[in-house]
Amino acid sequence: MAKKQVYYKDVEVGSEVPTLEKISTTQMAVRWAGASGDFNPLHYDDDFAATQGTGGIITHGALKRAWLVQLVTDWIGAKGRVKKFACQYRGMDYPRKMATMGEPGEGETWLCKGTITNKKVEDGEHLVECDIWVENGKGGKTTPGSATVILPSGGS
């Protein structure tokens, strides 16, 4: 959730974007399928997934993208805007099964992270660039990416 507004003048290259924690579950996969319209059974059907060479049902790449978008939009606040965003689905992630109707079973927790790589003023826009990624429970970066955001200047 967007909290305190971040300003261009306060951003330091090399600093970190506040980490966002996520748990991929089979339930989130189904919610995401309905909300996004991606009904590929690879993301919720064990038997189908077994024919796809992925080693089981895998988390939607676009769901991990949406986590990274949240990482960025939480950080930039209500007055920030995303100008560019990119990510690659390099490594597969496997959702936790559900323990109860609402609680995930034991397993991995994913961390969405970012570091600020550059800041510049271009055509009157105060731009900040960052590297972003999703880290799995073993510390592997399965979904690396980058973003360019426009921040309010906050004075000079």
């Binding site: 309905g34 996004s36 949240q70 689905y89």
Partner: protein, 159 residues
Amino acid sequence: MADESIVTDEIKAMIGTLSEPIIMEVERGAIRRYADAVDDDNPLFHEVEDAKNAGYEDIICPPGFWGWPIKGRAAVGGLSMVGAVLVKAGLFRILDGGVDQEFYIPIRAGDTLTASTKIADIREREGKAGKMLFTTLETTYLNQNGDTVAVNRATVIAR
């Protein structure tokens, strides 16, 4: 033959192919459901008052949401253009490779978007399990005023 390119002339000729434009209506409920699916409680995606206070006419979309279904019609329209060829090339397993997006104007509830998808590139790569085909679909979204609001480049991997 094993070392022959899977990017045949027939496949190469498809680069540049354009899909029919697709109309997408952006609804409040669909935006909220999308944000909820990710557990994203950003008020700009949920509360009209908060969005107005931030200078928007209505709740806005998380970047990458273009109305429901987000990639159904526009991307599948593009993908179906290469579908027959993938089958000919013996590639049945499809994976999402990633995205590269540019956002020009925030998309808000009430917008009507027109999406046109082009096959921007088709190339081959050697993977651990053999040849893979990387197809990049470039979708341009215009709003009801004819302004370009965003461009989405999605890479589809077939193997």
